[in-house]
């Protein structure tokens, strides 16, 4: 080592960006926000990302003193600033999920991962219904159990032309992340009067009737609930 080692501004800048993203991933993990963005299958990415980003940041910091330091130029600065914007946005954003607005523009679920055999026994879940939409065998298995009492949790979407006491109960099915969400809608009839606003999370109890390609619930009770910890159905 002939030359003395000094801090390299370019490397320090890279460290700041990596550390900020690492902090964001730890925040997602420890703050329980992974379920707002990723499905069960891909949730391992959050701890993995947190650890790898931390390692990468520490590595960059540990090697930030060098014999030939390079100043951070404007282009480095612009990239770093740009990369920090999403970090700030995702830190500041209050926890939120897709709602009625997205339900009106996304495609509708057609088949989840549950087989017809699984549907024929046990309590009927929202995921069973998502699997039955668009899959004939699964729908047949569901039809064999028509009239059974079921309990479903989802949020309300009101569509034009709905009669009083009717709304759609909606839940999004995601496979990897929210970007691939498809809407699973169940028509609820005989809901208590007064109406429920869009995006209100509710628990509906009632008798289930498959009608053609749709599923209908004759509501015995509709109660408002807070948003569940796992707002998306994971495929």
């Amino acid at each position: 080592m002939s030359e003395p080692r000094r801090w390299s501004p370019a490397r320090l800048l890279a460290f700041v960006v990596l550390a900020a993203w690492g902090a964001l991933f730890w925040f997602m993990l420890l703050g329980g926000r992974s379920s707002l963005y990723l499905s069960n299958r891909t949730r391992w990415l959050v701890p993995t990302g947190a650890i790898l980003l931390t390692l990468a940041a520490l590595g960059r910091l540990a090697s930030a003193r060098t014999a030939v330091p390079r100043p951070a130029n404007r282009s480095d600065g612009r990239v770093a600033a740009l990369m920090l914007v999403p970090v700030v946005v995702l830190f500041a954003l209050p926890p939120a999920t897709l709602g009625a607005y997205a339900a009106s523009r996304r495609s509708v679920t057609s088949g989840g991962g549950v087989s017809a055999a699984d549907i024929s026994s046990g309590a009927i879940t929202y995921f069973d219904i998502a699997s039955a939409l668009g899959n004939r065998e699964a729908m047949q298995a569901l039809t064999n159990r028509e009239g059974e009492q079921i309990v479903l949790e989802g949020f309300v979407t009101n569509q034009e032309g709905d009669a009083t006491g009717e709304f759609f109960l909606t839940r999004f099915l995601i496979t990897c992340c929210v970007a691939d969400a498809t809407a699973t809608e169940v028509r609820v009839v005989d809901a208590p009067p007064g109406g429920f606003p869009d995006n209100q999370w509710v628990r509906v109890t009632g008798a289930m009737y498959p009608v053609g390609a749709d599923v209908l619930i004759d509501a015995a009770s509709v109660e408002t609930i807070p948003r569940p910890a796992d707002p998306y159905l994971s495929g």
Partner: protein, 333 residues
């Protein structure tokens, strides 16, 4: 390594701009808290989709950057030179099959392919590997199986996706491979500026390449995620269903949809399966072209490869996918 002359003249980031950026970022955070985005549904929708695309794709890019930095620092360059001696008709299918063993989404395979080409693998083989890995890897095949289970079109979709993915990857590798690596790759300015001295221990060089590769890829990913989230927010997905019955147009429409949605190849089968108005050929067009060509990949390619490459990939992927799916539509509808 010598420092390029324009680095000496390029103005360094001043203290004032650092303070300005910090103030602007703090302002953004406060504005977001005060504005209550839940009152503006489209804005909230945009942020959620944008965030989820980034949170899912960034770790994959990082894993790719780890693999890429490891190749650079730990694998001797001669290893790839010996593969490059194989005749080209043999290299490309081998590269496509090698993709099977690399279970990451498309975002992770881009930095690895770039590094492989830099290290002396034939550029065509690197491109074939990059395009094949996101379609042929076991996780993607498994998710396609689950998405189409119990349908009449099950075998057409699963085998069709694998076969057509293989053919398109090899064909595009063949076309793109006519150039040499120097013409194909766009230089990463940070690679040259990297104030690396060869005396540094290996782990330091590793962290250096890791950091630059990640930042290099991540800024293009950021661009792709922004545009894709905006389009997902504005454009109703049901818009394309009007053209479902028009031949050829339906194939192009589904390719266009795959392009703008920028889905991960591990999940796109579930979205494709939801377009029940479209026949298997149009759904295959979506499933084969999407993992090779979409908004976020377009941004990654534009940053990684020379200008002509994006155009070559665009035309080659669309042409070969169209030809393949047309044949399938003749046989299966």
């Amino acid at each position: 390594m010598t420092v390029r002359s324009d680095d000496l003249t390029a103005p360094a980031v001043g203290r004032r701009s650092v303070v300005l950026v910090i103030v602007l970022l703090a302002g953004l955070a406060i504005a977001l808290r005060l504005a209550e985005p839940e009152r503006v549904p489209w804005l909230q929708n945009f942020f959620i989709v944008f965030g989820s695309l980034l949170i899912e794709a960034l770790p994959f890019v990082l894993i790719g950057a780890f693999a890429s930095a490891a190749i650079e620092v730990f694998v001797p360059a001669t290893a790839f030179a010996s593969i490059a001696k194989l005749p080209r008709p043999l290299q490309l299918p081998c590269a496509a099959v090698a993709g099977m063993a690399f279970p990451v989404c498309e975002c992770g395979s881009v930095p690895v392919a770039r590094r492989l080409a830099q290290r002396g693998l034939a550029p065509g083989a690197a491109v074939t590997f990059m395009l094949a890995a996101p379609i042929l890897n076991p996780i993607v095949i498994a998710s396609t199986v689950i998405a189409y289970r119990g349908r009449d079109t099950f075998w057409v979709m699963v085998l069709g996706r694998m076969a057509l993915g293989f053919v398109v990857a090899v064909a595009v590798g063949w076309v793109a491979g006519a150039r040499n690596a120097g013409d194909l790759l766009r230089p990463n300015p940070d690679d040259q500026d990297e104030d690396e001295d060869e005396d540094e221990p290996r782990w330091q060089r590793f962290t250096g390449h890791l950091g630059t590769d990640f930042l290099f890829m991540a800024k293009f990913l950021l661009l792709g995620a922004t545009v894709s989230a905006a389009i997902q927010t504005v454009l109703p997905q049901t818009l394309v269903t009007h053209v479902a019955s028009l031949p050829v147009v339906n194939l192009l429409a589904m390719m266009g949809l795959a392009f703008v949605l920028s889905l991960c190849s591990e999940s796109d089968a579930f979205v494709a399966a939801s377009f029940t108005q479209f026949g298997p050929s149009a759904q295959l067009a979506f499933l084969v072209s999407g993992p090779m060509l979409d908004m976020k990949l377009g941004a990654l390619y534009a940053g990684t490869y020379s200008k002509g490459f994006l155009r070559t990939v665009l035309f080659a992927v669309v042409a070969v996918t169209l030809a393949g799916t047309l044949w399938i539509s003749v046989v299966w509808g």
